[in-house]
Symmetry: D2
Subunit: 259 residues, 4 copies
């Protein structure tokens, strides 16, 4: 099974890049499952039901989110209705939506996708490590192959999660920082790992935001309404080949294409 996971999709430029690149990569690399992080598709802040539908139509089987999950109010009611739209599983009991979903390919192979969120420099949630162990055990009763998205800021928390789940899941990949890291690897016990997939969106902004606005915020300390940057885009993703029956990673490969 070949999985394509697209990093944080930023605004309209990000969605266009997804529309352009997904069909190409899927056919060239024989991708079976496409996943994407959608926490920034709505002008950089959150996601709406319409934009989620748009991404599903572009071929995504699962959409993950993160700390920006709730930026658009209209998504609150949509979360419980759409099991393919995830929010981190370590949000406490009572929060709308789900943290995992099991995809089944036309050929009958299964992949469980689990999203977690880190707590270092992030909102305080339930412990992602405790939740990971519990949820991975549960999901493995449904699917031998479990892929984990660790949406987090600190490299240490992401790598700790990689090693913590090493051997239990097919992959631990990170989202949230909007910059792709170059440390793709198969960890010692067989789990594919990448600290951050990177953003799909404007290349010449500041993590997708118009650079002048981001710089002014750092210079003044004042709040600033952000806008998505324009210009050339970058498509950041990761391609993971797994043995879905055995629940083992085979290869992990970064994709970073500038149009």
């Amino acid at each position: 099974m070949k999985i394509l996971y697209i990093g944080d999709i930023m605004g309209e430029p990000g969605r266009r890049a997804v529309g352009r690149m997904v069909p190409r990569v899927v056919s060239q690399r024989q991708v079976d499952v496409v996943i994407g992080n959608g926490e920034n598709v709505a002008g950089g802040f959150g996601i709406t039901p319409e934009l989620a539908e748009e991404l599903f139509e572009m071929g995504l089987s699962v959409i993950t989110t993160g700390n920006h999950a709730w930026d658009k109010k209209e998504i609150l009611d949509y979360f419980p209705r759409e099991p393919r739209l995830l929010r981190p599983a370590n949000y406490p009991a009572g929060v709308p939506g789900n943290g995992s979903y099991v995809v089944e390919t036309p050929g009958g192979e299964k992949l469980a996708v689990l999203q977690l969120m880190g707590r270092a420099y992030m909102p305080t949630l339930d412990c992602p490590f405790q939740v990971a162990k519990r949820e991975v055990a549960k999901l493995k009763r449904e699917a031998a192959a479990v892929l984990v998205d660790m949406h987090a800021e600190a490299t240490s928390e992401k790598m700790a999660m990689g090693h913590y789940l090493d051997g239990d899941v097919v992959a631990v990949v990170g989202t949230h920082t909007h910059v792709q890291t170059a440390d793709e690897q198969i960890l010692p016990k067989g789990t594919a790992y990448l600290t951050d997939i990177g953003m799909t969106g404007p290349l010449h902004g500041v993590i997708g935001v118009k650079k002048e606005l981001a710089i002014e915020k750092f210079l003044t300390g004042m709040p600033k309404r952000f806008e998505v940057a324009s210009g050339p885009t970058v498509f950041c993703a990761v391609l993971i080949e797994v043995d879905a029956q055995l629940g083992k990673a085979i290869t992990i490969e970064r994709i970073r294409v500038i149009d």
Copy 2:
């Protein structure tokens, strides 16, 4: 002029990797100036005068540090005596040491190295953006080529600094997160940029730390004495070619070698 900048050198494994790799890269790639981040050379925490001397003997012309600059007390008196050992320039007035140094090659070419530290999720210092403008202007009277190390956690603050100084300096490269990023590029106005060079040290730890200790810290929330991991090492660096007379970047290339 070819510059090799080695990312955060972690403990004894990191120093060994530097000793092994620097002569090789310098001769193969005709490197003129070697710089390295030394904030973690002393068992992961800080640097001592002896270890600084050891790195200078291995061929480094400048050693940068960061938030771990002060971990070893014996370094406090050494800072004012050794201008080639830098701490971020945006520490306030009165703090020992310097934030910049001008290297001169045997061929008479000059490179100014300036270190700054970010403030997002970091200790609160003077504004790195204000200090950058002031110090770069000063340094350009001495050397057309200025290289900036932005030691910071947040990708947004590093990219904002890259764009803020774009066209004014030959390069803005990042350190501190210990994970190399894959976004090397020449920014629109000509500055070479990389969000983080990555760590030189143990490959299978958690940003260089023994993984069991890092995981236990996340699981318990208790303070934990960290130890440098062992096993295979990774050498992370960046190779930047610049026109030192014109103060222009020519190329930027990541180096990531696992022994």
Copy 3:
């Protein structure tokens, strides 16, 4: 000279309490100058020109703000036009508004009011300690008596400022935490000090916010639109008597009245 400083005025209930209490305290205690913190007067978030006018009409001579200074966009243009409305003086150069104002009483006595903002667990600004020394020196050329508001979260940063300025200013009082502290004192070198004046607003909320909303935010980790609580109100202020000619504090007294 008797100064009444009213802590963070929270929404409509806070404004009503100000309207009710100020005339009473001013006449009973022969107050010469009334100051109030207005960062939460507009429904808990920021201040508008209209609400600033309303507070001036209620007898305030100076309005301070804080991290919520910019919550309402319409205040941006008003700041440069109204010197009696302050924002912390350690916002960087280029930020609209002023950080200090010199009040003159009908009797010709002068009081300089300076607002600073802490950086621990707060937005990163210029160093409040460096700015304090510079601004206090400047203000003392205009008025022997300088009062400092340290708008900050951490008790340590507020007390450090108190001792740092002890003997140089008539008072260092804190705002921002919305809970009055019980440590009013004259510091060893003569400066009146109180860590936090406390909030003027709804008594039975969570720092002024409807308690159900605040609790739900802590329980879910999701963003939550806050509303000002209702019910009985508390008026929190501090009364400081100073010798304006000598620039010396005489007494400091907390006021906390529940209606």
Copy 4:
């Protein structure tokens, strides 16, 4: 039942103040149970078995701690052996020690003491609100009267806990900020509340630390070895009268005595 709870006891000056004040208050006010926060008794950082014994001998029935619980290594083995020494109950499973203890007076009355720690600007632990509900329910099977210490930085998190448990426990009182607040009250459903009891220790330091060292840390941004201040001391505590059979608060009174 009359309960005396002493706020963060700071170093040797704090212990001396406890030794001097406890017998006096206990006899004058007919106190039944004395509790104290001991996270700073060992030179400002943590607690040792010897110092815990010293405090028990001074008449304390329960010692609470907080984020400084683990500063001294020798306490790790002591925690499981001494049920009267508490650490916050929302440390995750597997952490040594207990988060609650049930005191029985000579007259046969029972008081359950539960410590929790906030997460805003603090180490990330399990959710204090979830743990509170679970632990309070458990403890009420043993004792009608439950007192909660909320060791936290943010006033909002402490007040939210007060209202969250209002009516379920006899008292919610705060520790950690080292500055006593002036908001003692009986909440609407009957729980006694105080945001922070304040520190027992040196009056003229910065939350107990030598003021020169604290100021220098803020001025330089460098780490600084802290020392406990000297000079006059302040004894901060709270006196709560409860009906232990009914599990109802009767009165709450702050104590703040400068020697």
